[in-house]
């Protein structure tokens, strides 16, 4: 894929960096002929082949490319599975006659892959093991019924065994799969372990190895190619509503609801504009989703026109069909979820919050601030012990104006440029820092919390830090306001 973007006729390799070491992850045929092989250190490769062109490997995108290739291969067979990180295996039993035979199928596949610029190697055989060996080490077809003779000439690495086993066998003069077939099995198993024989049996078809593709998650994407480029907001919205109709029908069929959607608008000048929206709860109502796109669509630059629209729901959640009816609670819940979707798409979903009870005694951590779209309300256990304020803020220094006795709150203090006289003080309530979290705000040690009623009216939550060092002038802070 990297080579397709920057065509290069000379030796080329992808370098993968793991830990402190760089090694060759993948290379082209020219580089292979130059004496390089997979897994060798990148420095060695550059020394052997000075004009080697390298790019960093991107494993995530490689896997994504293989996944999309896998989806495409399903045109040849419904059963396609991953084979390692760089291969695909398809069970084409009963399929080739649709393409006119195995050879024609292979030619068709090859022609299409060459047209998109991929380097590949394909093999067809009776068993999965034999097909693996053919694809990696020869390429081509082993006709039906030939059995072991077809792969006898292939190297032992085609058996899907470790390189140490291959080396061990080579030391004994065994280099080809055919060398293993006539040998007595018991000594082989004793020396190289049972897996070697299992792989051999699987390649020869003595032991069965079915292909079991994992259930594929349905892909929720629809696209629309327009005969003439469009540029008006109303046109985009009407196209979008058609796409949404299709997508929501598909979601309803699979009992799923969209959670995040992306609209891609391909412009005539090859640029792509993407709009992302999130939903506060899984949903498949086209009208309500279309409303969320309105603001984004009004802001995009259509350039010379938009010719392709693509709508993907890349995050979906199960959503069973719902009973609808005159249930006001449900209508209110839906209205609230719509509000969170609208607000979340403008402000960000991390700004639509809900407070959940936490287990800590530390005031700041006694509740958890969670995104309302991704959490459910929890009942709050009743507060035991001393009263808590209704408003909490970060500790603000309080200036002591006089009458300070050790162990007691000051008689007069000022906070936020207001001066207060203490009428009544409840406390102290001692809260110790949680030593297992290093919270910078709690490095001053213990806190003695007091509920202070002032003559002026406000009821404040003050604390004193008895453990803070003597030279810090500041020992009293305000952290909350009571009702």
């Amino acid at each position: 894929m990297a080579l397709r973007k920057r065509p290069n006729a000379g030796p080329f390799a992808l370098i993968h960096r793991s830990g402190n070491k760089e090694h060759v992850h993948c290379l082209n045929a020219v580089a292979e002929r130059g004496g390089l092989h997979r897994g060798m250190a990148a420095a060695d490769a550059r020394a052997i082949c000075p004009d080697l062109v390298t790019r960093p490997a991107d494993l995530g995108r490689e896997a994504a490319a293989l996944a999309s290739l896998r989806r495409w291969i399903t045109r040849y067979s419904p059963l396609v599975v991953w084979d390692g990180s760089d291969g695909l295996i398809a069970d084409i039993t009963g399929v080739p006659h649709l393409f006119g035979g195995e050879q024609d199928l292979l030619d068709d596949l090859g022609a299409r892959l060459i047209r998109v610029g991929l380097t590949f190697s394909v093999g067809i055989a009776d068993t999965r093991g034999a097909a693996y060996a053919m694809a990696r080490h020869a390429g081509g077809i082993i006709p039906e019924g030939v059995g072991g003779a077809g792969i006898a000439g292939l190297p032992l690495a085609g058996l899907r065994i470790g390189s140490d086993v291959v080396d061990g066998l080579a030391r004994m003069g065994l280099h080809k799969i055919g060398d293993l077939i006539p040998l007595p099995r018991a000594p082989l198993a004793r020396r190289f372990g049972q897996p070697l024989l299992m792989r051999l049996d699987q390649a020869l078809g003595i032991q069965s190895e079915p292909i079991a593709p994992e259930k594929e998650l349905e892909h929720f994407g629809v696209r629309m190619t327009l005969p003439e480029p469009i540029g008006l907001q109303a046109d985009v919205m009407s196209g979008l509503s058609r796409l949404l109709g299709q997508l929501c029908a598909k979601l309803a069929h699979h009992h799923r609801g969209a959670r995040r959607l992306r609209l891609e608008l391909h412009r005539v000048d090859q640029e792509t504009v993407t709009l992302d929206i999130g939903l506060a709860r899984p949903m498949r109502d086209p009208d309500r989703i279309a409303g969320l796109f309105e603001k984004g669509v009004s802001e995009i630059d259509a350039g010379f026109g938009i010719e392709v629209m693509r709508l993907v729901s890349y995050l979906t959640e199960p959503l069973a069909p719902e009973q609808i009816g005159p249930n006001t609670d449900m209508a209110h819940d839906a209205a609230l979820a719509d509000l969170f979707s609208r607000v979340g798409n403008r402000l960000g979903f991390d700004r639509v919050l809900r407070l959940l009870p936490g287990h800590s005694k530390i005031p700041e951590r006694s509740h958890i601030i969670a995104s309302a779209a991704y959490s459910a309300a929890e009942p709050v256990p009743p507060q035991r012990g001393p009263q808590r304020p209704i408003i909490l803020f970060a500790p603000e220094p309080v200036t002591v104006r006089g009458g300070a006795q050790p162990g007691h709150p000051p008689a007069r203090f000022s906070w936020r440029r207001m001066t207060f006289t203490v009428l009544r003080a409840d406390g102290p309530e001692r809260i110790a820092p949680e030593w297992w979290f290093d919270d910078p705000a709690w490095r001053t040690g213990l806190r003695d919390y007091w509920r202070i009623e002032t003559r002026e009216g406000p009821r404040l939550w003050l604390f004193h830090t008895p453990q803070s060092s003597a030279w810090t002038a500041q020992h009293w802070f305000a952290q909350g306001e009571f009702a």
């Binding site: 006001t328 209508a331 209110h332 209205a335 609230l336 719509d338 509000l339 969170f340 609208r342 607000v343 403008r346 402000l347 700004r351 639509v352 919050l353 809900r354 407070l355 959940l356 009870p357 005031p363 006694s366 509740h367 601030i369 309302a372 309300a377 929890e378 009942p379 709050v380 009743p382 507060q383 009263q387 808590r388 304020p389 209704i390 408003i391 909490l392 803020f393 970060a394 603000e396 009428l423 009544r424 009623e453 002032t454 003559r455 002026e456 009216g457 406000p458 009821r459 909350g480 306001e481 009571f482 009702a483």
Partner: protein
């Protein structure tokens, strides 16, 4: 359009209208009104404001219904308040605008509240309200002579429909009910035995 209000309960805010509260005790007034409301409560606090409601200190039933929005700018704040007011089925929308509310903004909020039949309460700084507000309350915590009294003075200083008022109430911040304290400032509760 008729707006319901309860003549026997002076503190019930008129439905589908936006009200204002100012003074040091405005948070307490907001929590009191939220605790009395039915349905979800939205509290819009600017992102840079230092404070948040403390879950453990709120009335238990309110804590589950409370949702907080933290917009970054004043414009976003007004927009989200308007969106929230337009949503049907909410109990109360509380917001803390930072700048004085213009007549235009106040009127827009009133229209949004009428659309969604939702009540709004703006917590404003002193004298920064909008003329469009239905009522304006000046709220102050008051020191009590006795222990176990949590006194608040709530002055209704603007009212588009009805009279003004000045009440001293005892509300402990845990429930939606309160006690009116007699205007003479006489004792509430049993006399101490000599």
């Amino acid at each position: 359009m008729r707006f319901e209000t309860d003549p026997l309960d002076p503190f019930s805010l008129m439905k589908a209208r936006v009200h204002e509260a100012e003074g040091l005790g405005r948070y307490g007034f907001a929590v009191f009104q939220a605790a009395r409301s039915v349905g979800a409560v939205i509290w819009v606090i600017p992102n840079h404001a230092p404070h948040l409601p403390m879950l453990r200190g709120l009335p238990v039933k309110l804590a589950e219904r409370l949702h907080i929005l933290r917009p970054k700018s004043e414009q976003d704040l007004l927009w989200s308040v308007e969106e929230a007011l337009r949503t049907k089925g909410l109990g109360l929308v509380i917001a803390e605008p930072e700048k004085p509310l213009s007549l235009l903004a106040g009127r827009r909020l009133q229209l949004a509240a009428e659309t969604g039949r939702t009540t709004g309460l703006m917590l404003i700084r002193q004298d920064q309200g909008s003329n469009a507000a239905q009522t304006r309350w000046h709220c102050m915590p008051v020191a009590a002579q006795q222990r176990d009294l949590t006194l608040h003075q709530w002055i209704l200083k603007k009212n588009k429909k009805g009279t003004f008022g000045n009440w001293t109430v005892d509300w402990n911040g845990k429930t939606g009910s309160l006690h009116l304290v007699s205007a003479a400032g006489q004792r509430y509760g049993p006399a101490e035995t000599p």
